[in-house]
Symmetry: C2
Subunit: 130 residues, 2 copies
DNA sequence: TTGCTCCTCACGTCACGTGAGGTGGC
DNA sequence: TTGCTCCTCACGTCACGTGAGGTGGC
């Protein structure tokens, strides 16, 4: 069990961000010291790394929560069939969404590269003018 | 000369966004009707398309303003040498920044793709369990 | 006169950053 | 007791979205 400072530094996030993710229901501390200090286990590290991996896809924190919930239910062996079915459909929805976001990211990279080349050309052109 | 509605639809931005970019000093209307309606020329279209191209690089609106200013000064034939020099250095800075952001975007795309594959695998695994 | 477009506040949202003032824990 | 870490408000920021209430222009 470790405190928020170690958790934050291990996943390279700010304390504020970790607390904010807690407010959003994404990563709850495993417990608290009598004095009120948050205590975490390795699970929190993995959870935060998963969230960091989702970030480039542009999901909102609410969407991430729903997605993580679905993954957890489907991992569990004791989930009810109806719930499992619902979570499976949710997962499929997010999978399609993720694929779409990947396409958008690829487009953005192309646009960014094009603009970077334009800038380089401008720099070169401006250098010749001197 | 056309109104903000036509401008916005031609560059596929909201009216609010166009007005917000004006507040940020990015795109000023060429004039106003006596009644106060904003009037734009083709220049505004090109300006907004340029801004849209910069967006994937994650520049702030202030940075975009500085960058556009530098490009305009260097395009002009009547710019003072000292100002031209300053703007050239600014352009070089932004060019380096843009290259760095391209690298980051490429990394993000890789992370996104990896997560999308993970999701697909989870969907498949969950489907086999039924 | 009727719609449609536009106007200016101004508050809301999302994902945090940044202190302020106070206390826990070794 | 001294630092260092942590705590909870709570306001600020960035790039807009979203009405509210009113008016311009063909």
């Amino acid at each position: 069990m470790f405190q928020i400072g170690e958790l934050a530094s291990r996943v390279t996030l700010s304390l504020r961000t970790v607390r904010f993710y807690e407010e959003a229901g994404l990563v709850l501390p495993a417990g608290r010291t009598p004095g009120g200090f948050r205590l975490y286990t390795e699970d929190a590290v993995e959870r935060l790394l998963l969230i960091k991996q989702m970030k480039p896809l542009g999901f909102t924190l609410d969407e991430m929560r729903l997605l993580i919930e679905a993954m957890n239910v489907l991992q569990a062996t004791d989930a009810e069939a109806t719930v499992r079915h619902e979570m499976h459909e949710r997962l499929e929805m997010f999978s399609a969404l993720a694929a779409e976001r990947c396409r958008q990211l690829a487009e953005q990279l192309d646009v960014a590269k094009a603009f970077a080349r334009t800038l380089d050309a401008e720099v070169a052109r401006s250098a010749r003018r001197r």
